[in-house]
Subunit: 629 residues, 2 copies
């Protein structure tokens, strides 16, 4: 009957299914059903098998491939499901034609059949390859990072791994060793892309709260353990507290029961992006204090196709289980019908993807690449420096020269551990250089209730910030000017923890306290606060910020502990085309001198600057030096 | 040296202390120090005792009483501390004069010495009594409710109980039996004034999060157990997970260890207010589903003096550990210096105390009693009906005729359990009658993110709602009109739980979606949402609302469960001076008929109404009747 079934009546997919509204869901069904079918295949009569193969499964496999090349032949999580579905039913039926098709894609396609998908991504891979092996080659970086980001990686891992396992059970293809074992690396990448609560960093289109507890990640960890027997995976499995009902899950459960697990310490790590690992990266710095994880992610990888955000050099920051500086994530409530059927909301495009929705600079009130996905997909920033060997001073630094043509963006983020701070100090240096003058906005989407700022605020009666590129969704609640010491401070409280941001500020800077949610009478956006530094007429300028997580409060005993931070002020002592040098002065009169070589990232080159009539020299691109009182 | 000490230099208290900035803190110190002094009293030499008594303790006791009658002679938690301090040091020193003063207050005071305290409360009790016994008589209702509310009761309980225990150890005064055992009743009242998380309902000036884990409540529970040996108190002590280091705490710990504890099931309860129990009440309805507590509090007691809010007939609502409809609490961050030194913020008066900050009606954009504490303290609403015997239909109903002279406010709240609902259905009927036409605003301060409304919304670009009485702090984000079925619906999600409010709405009603926080450039207020029904030109009108807690969602499996409520629409079928009758129609076509006799609360009287050509009769003031399809 399958051949005669008409398409599902819902018309909103670029590749409509038959059983469901999109081919993707038909493919999901076939991946699972193949496994069930395999279990009973030998038990069925020859006639029943022949009937099912001919009337249902082969036509369905053809429908999902030949009849829908725009679904099957892409480098995209949808196609991965399609490839796995066709390949797995092929393995069951021992249909070499289908297996070949699944592994290598459709051949001799007329390229004029290919069109854009719903998300605005492009359909064919640059070098015209398709199929499962091409997916593995092109979807992952050599480090196992999936260019759409962890939220979609979590979704795509299941078909990658289940089809791989089926292949390794039935063929000579050493698929888990393919490409230097990238499929297993991808499982580690996925785990390493979670915060202290096990939730994925919500970069790109991601719904917050998705975590390594998701069924697909349970399956991934169990499969990876079965393949690798790495005992640290068992402690992730223990936290997941569930296993798959198969040989993988059984092995995991048995070995946990035998106490074979070892701790999984998520590392500071740079996950390169792009098939060749040369398209930027995701940098993650981590620090542990009393087993509490602090994690800082900076995004300087690829755009990430249709689900990417215009967020190059943006960051998000977690201390313990708390989200301190947020990445907004997607404007979407997956499967919640009340919110426009559960799909992406209009505000995903008008707000969540825009640059101003992220903790990075927006130039002249326009998003990076003027919000063109096609342009954004062509470029990526470059890692400038990444160093996590010294737990006291971890650094990541990246340069972007394409988001705003003619402007060079260079961000360096440091996670500093020193006994004077109870938690790591985050230091952020953002240099923006251009031949022409620009308006530069740098927001920080802190979460919590504002306690205090050290500058005068004037009520702006919720004026709306702009007209386009997300600015139309920001209200300005209050506005101020830099205090005399050029160091604006903002402290806030969230879940009874107290944080302070100290920002170097020019006298002409506008300091804005914003709220997300203008032009949103349907309340599709969260009413979250932000602090924005607006600097006008800038050619070569640097933003220097520190963020302390210092205090706590109990509403039961009503006592604040360490209610104030330690940073007193920030001075920029040099800002040229080649160097930024800045001092961070603490209230105990000790100082940190931070200097960055902006152009030369050679680790063995020696640099010099003058500081207080002294020549200070250092090796490599970054100097972090403490001066006691 | 104490007599020669000058007053503490800080001048913001109505009763400045010597060791601390206010007499209250000196009294706190003396209550604790008396206990320590008592422990070493016999061990000290006679000379040392005499010296300390003469130079420190007796002068301090005099300072806190004779020299500060405005502190000592009030009915107020401050004075309770003062009385206890003077009395306890008197007991140690066996100074009958001080004990007498503590118990009965200062005599022959010139009343012109008495002035207002910082909070705007009045100083002398109406019948000119003072001292510890007068405090017990006047601060508590016969049910043990303390008129300032649980946040302050928690604070005041310690001196009440510790002095009582000291008295019962040393005198014949059977203080724990005094006034029918009201001091122990007060401990139960305090426990019963907590939500499902053990936090106090934040009525009046209260900082949210204060709970029965506070040290003073631990001491209260331990003392009450020592006096009563009620095994249900042990399960509260178990949850507190700490005891006092004295005979009380020892007894509790020992008996917990011996498994003597029994469950403490917080009941539905009406706690009368006022010394004679005839000044209205706090009504609390509770329901338990799978051990999860739903609690609904309506406030129809006294104003509560200087810390009271103009919130008569307001309510707050909790389901499980979630705050669903919030009472704002106080605008204050206790002891957090960044927030105006930790004291009450200006917005406590301009917003938190005002009627519009509460889930009750505001008439003509003015607060109850035009926000005069003096007037408000003179009146209280009357309980009209309270019935919690039938767990399926619990009802509380109260009438207020003084908050707005010439207007009669009558609110009836029902907690309904029926198998069709997974959690109780909250039904709210609010009748407003006046001879003249008024503008009536009824807000609901729901917490969470709005999912959907069933009426058209137009963007109001955050217009500010009014100029005074708290309206200046409300932004209108969006506005709508009643849908055709006169049943406005609003659903929201919070902590992955889904709620729906259904509101009977007239065609002329304005439906406003508001946000707290206008005119607040210091961010002293939380940016919380509200839904407001505004009805113009009303003489005799009723608001009928239902609130369902029906669904949940997991961002890990991305599946909503019961995303929609069961209530379809609300009809008002009768609205006279004597009756409201309304039907609540469910989506399965069953209906609930609710009728209230507004004037006659006699339980044995029979009432009749016509409904669909039937005569329906019932006994008592409230009819709740289900009709199947």
């Amino acid at each position: 009957m399958y051949p005669k079934l008409s398409l599902h009546p819902a018309k909103r997919s670029y590749a409509r299914g038959k059983l469901f509204w999109q081919c993707l869901n038909d493919a999901n069904w076939l991946v699972y059903t193949s496994q069930a079918y395999d279990c009973i295949y030998e038990w069925l009569s020859r006639e029943d098998r022949a009937f099912l193969n001919k009337e249902l499964f082969r036509p369905m496999a053809d429908f999902l491939s030949i009849e829908n090349p725009q679904f099957f032949n892409r480098i995209h999580n949808h196609s991965t499901w399609g490839n796995a579905a066709v390949g797995m039913i092929g393995l069951v039926m021992e249909d070499e034609d289908l297996i070949e098709r699944a592994l290598y894609g459709l051949k001799n396609l007329k390229s004029n059949k290919i069109s854009e998908d719903n998300d605005g991504g492009t359909i064919y891979s640059e070098n015209q390859r398709a199929g499962f092996l091409a997916q593995i080659d092109e979807a992952f970086s050599p480090d196992g990072y999936y260019t759409e980001g962890p939220y979609y990686q979590r979704y795509a891992m299941y078909p990658f791994l289940i089809f791989a396992q089926a292949l390794s059970n039935t063929s000579d293809l050493k698929i888990f060793e393919y490409r230097d074992g990238v499929l297993l690396k991808a499982v580690y990448a996925l785990i390493n892309l979670t915060n202290g609560s096990g939730e994925f960093f919500p970069i790109n289109d991601a719904q917050k709260g998705m975590s390594f507890h998701a069924h697909s990640v349970v399956a991934a960890v169990d499969m990876a353990y079965y393949q690798s027997k790495d005992p640290s995976l068992l402690s992730i499995a223990k936290e997941q507290n569930t296993v798959t009902l198969d040989i993988n899950g059984f092995t995991v459960a048995r070995d946990i029961d035998n106490n074979k697990y070892e701790p999984y310490i998520k590392p500071s790590i740079m996950l390169t992006d792009g098939p060749n690992g040369n398209s930027g990266a995701i940098g993650i710095l981590r620090s542990y204090n009393n087993e509490e994880e602090t994690s800082l992610l900076m995004k300087y990888g690829k755009h990430g196709m249709g689900h990417g955000h215009f967020d190059k050099l943006s960051f998000c920051y977690y201390v313990g289980r708390e989200e301190v500086i947020q990445d907004y994530g997607a404007a979407r409530w997956v499967n919640i019908k009340q919110k426009d059927g559960g799909g992406y909301l209009n505000e995903n495009k008008s707000w969540a993807k825009q640059t101003i929705a992220h903790n990075t600079v927006t130039i002249d009130e326009k998003s990076q690449f003027k919000a063109s996905v096609k342009t954004a997909d062509l470029f990526s920033p470059d890692s400038f420096f990444f160093s996590s060997d010294n737990q006291k001073v971890q650094v990541m630094s990246a340069v972007d020269e394409n988001s705003y043509p003619g402007t060079r963006l260079h961000r360096t983020m440091i996670l500093l551990n020193d006994s004077v701070f109870s938690k790591p100090l985050l230091i952020d240096l953002f240099n923006v250089q251009s031949d022409t003058a620009h308006k530069v906005d740098l927001p920080f989407y802190y979460l919590g209730q504002l306690l205090e700022v050290n500058f005068q605020l004037s009520d702006q009666k919720s004026q709306i910030l702009g007209d386009d590129y997300g600015f139309q969704h920001l209200r300005v609640e209050a506005k101020g000017k830099s205090p005399e010491n050029n160091s604006a401070q903002l402290s806030w409280i969230k879940s009874n923890k107290i944080y302070t941001l100290t920002s170097y500020s020019d006298p002409d800077d506008e300091l804005l306290l914003t709220q997300i949610g203008a032009h949103d009478s349907l309340f599709n956006l969260r009413r979250d606060p932000g602090f924005m530094i607006r600097r006008n007429n800038s050619k070569n300028t640097s933003f220097v910020n520190t963020l302390e997580s210092h205090g706590n409060y109990s509403p039961v005993n009503e006592r604040p502990v360490n209610a104030y931070g330690k940073v007193d002020n920030i001075t920029i002592i040099q800002n040229t085309q080649d160097y930024i040098a800045t001092t961070i002065q603490l209230i105990d009169n000790s100082r940190w001198l931070i200097a960055i070589s902006l152009k030369d990232n050679n680790k063995s080159i020696t640099h010099k600057i003058d500081y207080r009539n002294e020549k200070i020299s250092w090796q490599g691109p970054v100097l972090v030096k403490k001066f006691s009182k």
